[in-house]
C-alpha cells in the first residue's frame, strides 16, 4: 500500500458494509466509535450521579460534583455570567463528549471522530443553536434581531451592518468547527507520519530503518503525550469559546 493510501485509510472514514438482508446500513468506523463514546459517557454519567453509601460511590459523587463546579466556575460563569447557569448541562455534556471523542483516537482500533468535519460541524451547529436560543430567550426575537446592530450606528449604515454582524456569527460557528477539526486531524496525521518514517526508510535499507526507529519512536511518544494535552485543551477551548459567544449575545445591550 502507498504511504498516502495508508494515511488516508487510517484517517478518513470508511463504510463497514453492514447489511440487513438487502438493506445497507450506513454504519462507518466513525459512527461506531461515536456510538461507543456515547455508551461510555452514559455509563460514566450514571456512575457519577447515582447516590450510594459505599466509599467508591461517594468518591465518584465527589468527582462528579467537582467536574460540574469546574464547568460552572471555570467556563460558564466567566463567559456568560450568572445567567449562563441555566445552560450548564449543555456545557457539561459538550466538554465530556469532545474530550472522550478526542481521546478515543488514542485507543487502538478506534478513531478520532473529531477529525471528521461532519462531527465537529454538528457540534458547532449545536453551539450555534444555543447562541441563537440564548439570544432569543434573553432579549426576545425582536430584541435579538436588534442586537445585531451595534449601538450608535447611523440609520443609513444599518443595511450594511446587519448582514455583516449576521455573517460574523456564522463565521464564529464555522471557526468552532474548523478549529477542533484541524487540531485533531493534524495531530493524528503527525503521529501516523512519524510511524511511517520507519517503514519508508526501511524500504531503502533495513539497517537504516532499524536506526530510524529509535528517534521516530521517541518523537512518537512525545507526540502522544502532546496529543493527550491537545485533547483536553481543545475540549476546554471549544466549551469556553461557546460560552464566550453565548455571553456576547446575552450581554449585547
Amino acid at each position: 500500500m502507498e504511504v498516502s493510501e495508508t494515511i488516508a485509510h487510517h484517517i478518513l472514514d470508511h463504510d463497514l458494509g453492514v447489511m440487513i438482508g438487502a438493506f445497507h446500513l450506513p454504519i462507518t468506523a466513525h459512527t461506531l466509535t461515536m456510538l461507543g463514546v456515547s455508551i461510555v459517557l452514559f455509563v460514566v454519567a450514571v456512575l457519577l450521579s447515582v447516590r450510594g453509601k459505599s466509599l467508591l460511590s461517594r468518591l465518584l459523587n465527589t468527582v462528579g460534583e467537582e467536574y460540574v463546579a469546574f464547568m460552572r466556575d471555570g467556563i460558564v460563569v466567566p463567559g456568560i455570567g450568572k445567567e449562563g447557569i441555566a445552560f450548564l448541562p449543555y456545557f457539561c455534556t459538550l466538554f465530556l463528549f469532545i474530550l472522550f471523542s478526542n481521546l478515543a483516537g488514542l485507543i487502538p482500533q478506534m478513531k478520532t471522530i473529531t477529525s471528521n468535519i461532519s462531527v465537529t460541524g454538528g457540534l458547532a451547529l449545536c453551539s450555534g443553536g444555543l447562541i441563537v436560543y440564548a439570544g432569543i430567550k434573553t432579549h426576545g426575537l425582536w430584541g435579538f434581531i436588534k442586537s445585531f446592530i451595534p449601538g450608535g450606528t447611523p440609520w443609513w449604515l444599518v443595511p450594511l451592518m446587519f448582514p455583516l454582524e449576521v455573517i460574523s456569527l456564522i463565521i464564529r460557528v464555522c471557526v468552532l468547527a474548523i478549529r477542533l477539526f484541524a487540531n485533531m486531524l493534524s495531530g493524528h496525521m503527525v503521529l501516523l507520519s512519524l510511524l511511517l518514517i520507519i517503514f519508508i526508510i526501511g524500504q531503502m535499507s533495513k539497517m537504516a530503518g532499524v536506526g530510524a526507529a529509535f528517534p521516530a519512536m521517541g518523537l512518537e511518544i512525545f507526540m502522544t503525550f502532546l496529543e493527550l494535552l491537545v485533547a483536553f485543551l481543545q475540549a476546554y477551548v471549544f466549551s469556553l469559546l461557546t460560552s464566550i459567544y453565548v455571553g456576547l449575545v446575552v450581554h449585547s445591550h
Binding site: 455573517i167 460574523s168 463565521i171 464555522c174 471557526v175 478549529r179 469556553l240 469559546l241 464566550i244
Partner: protein, 84 residues
C-alpha cells in the same frame, strides 16, 4: 493605549481572531467562485468576494480589539475605584 494584561478568556478570543479572518476570506472566495460559475463571470465575482471577505475579516479584528480594550478599561477603572 497598550492592550493587556489579558485573562485566559481573552487569550482564547485573540488566538481565534486569525482563524476568523481566514474563514472570512475563504467564505468570500467560495461565494465569489460559486457566483462566477453560475453567471460565467470568472474571475470578477471571486475578486469581489476576496475583497469583501478581507473587509469583513478586518471588521471582525477591529471590533474584537475594541471590545478587548474596553474590557481592560473597565477593569482598570474598577481597580482605581477599589472595587477589585
Amino acid at each position: 493605549m497598550a492592550l493587556g494584561p489579558f485573562s485566559a478568556k481573552d487569550h482564547v478570543v485573540i488566538t481565534t481572531l486569525g482563524l476568523e479572518f481566514a474563514v472570512a476570506v475563504s467564505m468570500g472566495v467560495a461565494v465569489g467562485f460559486w457566483l462566477d460559475k453560475k453567471y460565467s463571470t470568472f474571475p470578477w465575482a471571486m475578486i469581489a468576494g476576496v475583497m469583501c471577505g478581507f473587509a469583513l475579516g478586518l471588521y471582525i479584528i477591529v471590533k474584537e480589539s475594541h471590545r478587548l480594550s474596553q474590557t481592560e478599561k473597565i477593569t482598570e477603572d474598577k481597580k482605581k475605584n477599589g472595587s477589585i
